[in-house]
Symmetry: none
Subunit: 205 residues, 4 copies
DNA sequence: AATTAAACGAGACGGTACGTCGAGTCTTATC
DNA sequence: GATAAGACTCGACGTACCGTCTCGTTTAATT
């Protein structure tokens, strides 16, 4: 199952000098460093190239836009974190993982900015969707399934992921162990058949 | 108690030609238009000035940064929407209001971008906090109080506001009447003393 | 009679901040210096701007192309030298003036290069024609007229100007007093009615 | 007598794959075409390689600089034209040959540009000297010798070659049969012992 | 009515970064 | 060892905006 992949520019054939793997690594590392230091808005291609000790053209040969680069440098690791799904993951673990992902300083700088850009760039939006939102949805849905009761998983994803995102990036409140447990308890209360299920609410427009 | 207000620059004295109210209106209107058309990332001060038929200096005389301008042009209306709190607002109305606020095309373009910038700019963050987050928190807390049971309002705000934000700006799912009702039902299930309350969860780290 | 003027970009109206005369002077001086130091081929706009202590945009606001800049910086002075025509200029003086003009180190670097570029750029060619060739033709023709005999002035210009140009820029031979006198003697021999006049040569194709 | 030859890079040994003669021809042809189409200033090595269907390295293996390539592609044919000297060449034929040489469109584009570059590159200057100026000087001198009178041949070369060059490349006047005859007549008037000889002019500085 | 002082439009200024192009060199696989 | 292909570093291109500045002009409130 080939995952909808990187937005990296692709090489033509097997001809010519191969691309330098070292350059790749240096660029991604420099991007992560600078995201942490100055944030997304002040991140410049020239700055990344200089920090990586690489020519601008080497960078442009690989990524078409700043957003693409940042997605690969900072969001792809998050995506992997979300995708790497154990069979016996508890609900707490899943939420804890989300929290952990959004707390990485370089991701934090990039996350909202990329989402903002995705609002205007459907290609970028699709990529974020496939690599971040879908895995998060899967993560939440898997727990729901395992715990054996079925609320609308879409709502649950928005609630859980939204709460984590809002807590960390907007309210800037504590995203500690208590927060994780409270959030999970909240989700359980909802999905618990004994409680008032959201899915009871009749027919909708 | 004067609310930490607009980030507009203030006039020096009462002397000289007064600032043109028409210029103000034209600039804010142009900003809203361009936010809708090209988004925040591609919004330029020069573009706004040109569209408004105003000199750049007229703009800089009023706002110090692009973010300040956008806050006044696109987020302040949202803030007013949130602040204007009737005594007999139902929970559904409150959530519906949040949904409505985030759906304005020009706000949508600006919201995440300003939040992203706020992550690096504490002054901006404080302003967003005071004008947007606090009112939203108040809105949610007021409902909770009226409905007579006390969950941690901070968590509830993150859950409700986060869910709305995630649904509209990230998942891009339907933010329709059903969504509003389901979300409210979910919140009620949690805060209902008969359900499993999040606040029961013992001691916290 | 307005002479077809400079290829400088023109200002729109009397509005706005006026262009800095100091910037003008600094740019032209820097251009002349660099022409002397590195020649035309290696002259860069960035180099000129840096040397002049001026932003690139300030330069581009005034001149559209490198050739235009060089014409103003190095060839215009030559044009003035040629145009500034005394009534009692001797033939020797005229040729000496031509020699002097082509010997300026910064002009030397620029002259052939601009002529080469003019071969492909009709606007540039016209300008060179009006500011350099025509005045040179006038200079030569004036002498011919004063000395009272009429060879085809066009031929004479090509012969005299061509000889000077070839001697200095191509052969790199000595362009000394002897050369001047020999060249004038040659021209006189031709235009002298007692000699074989070129214009006698019957019917032409 | 080995003529100071081409500036082509020389092969190392007789080992390995021999250089492709087809590549040579393709490169030179492409160079001539592009000189005619875009001129010297806009001629790029990459463009030539692409047009010739050859890798850049193949080109660099043969010529060190753009000027060298252009000399071989466009000026060498002119040099051959000048060098190929019949015993019974008339003065008119010689001048006509010069005219013809400078009228080739690809040479025209290159001639002044290479001369301009030669002003800063002594190696290039030497090569142009040997392959173009010397043969032209010889051509003129041979006529002078045959017609039996001795003006300073250096001056004569500058006068004749300069006049042709100036007429064609600078004035852009008609370089027709009349021009050729007038120029020859002029040269004869000078070198004719009955006329005023330039070399009579007394003592020289 | 004249004065005063700031607002205004226009646009130049020194900068920074953009994304592109071409230079000349290097690396790989293929002939 | 030559070749085609295409990577590499580097430097400059010409453009777009930034935020500041300097003009001449306009507009109210104060004298």
């Amino acid at each position: 199952m080939p995952v909808a992949g990187t937005r990296r520019k692709i090489r033509s054939g097997g001809l010519g000098r191969p691309r330098s793997a070292a350059a790749d690594a240096a660029i991604l590392a420099a991007t992560r460093e600078l995201l942490g230091e100055v944030g997304y808005a002040r991140l410049t291609i020239e700055g990344v190239a200089a920090r990586a000790g690489v020519a601008k053209s080497t960078l442009y040969r690989r990524w078409a836009t700043r957003a693409d680069l940042v997605v690969d440098a900072a969001l792809e690791p998050v995506a992997e974190l979300l995708a790497n799904r154990d069979a016996d993951l508890t609900a707490e673990d899943a939420v804890r993982r989300l929290v952990e992902a959004l707390r990485r300083p370089e991701s934090q700088a990039a996350y909202l900015a990329v989402l903002a850009e995705a609002a205007r760039d459907d290609t970028l939006h699709a990529r974020v969707q496939v690599r971040l939102i879908e895995p998060a949805r899967e993560l939440v849905a898997a727990i729901g399934r395992r715990e054996g009761h079925g609320t609308d998983p879409d709502l649950l994803v928005d609630v859980v992921a939204g709460a984590v995102l809002h807590r960390i990036l907007v309210s800037r409140g504590a995203a500690d162990e208590r927060f994780v447990r409270d959030l999970v308890a909240l989700a359980r209360a909802v999905t618990d058949p004994s409680g008032v299920s959201a899915s009871e609410s009749g027919v909708h427009e």
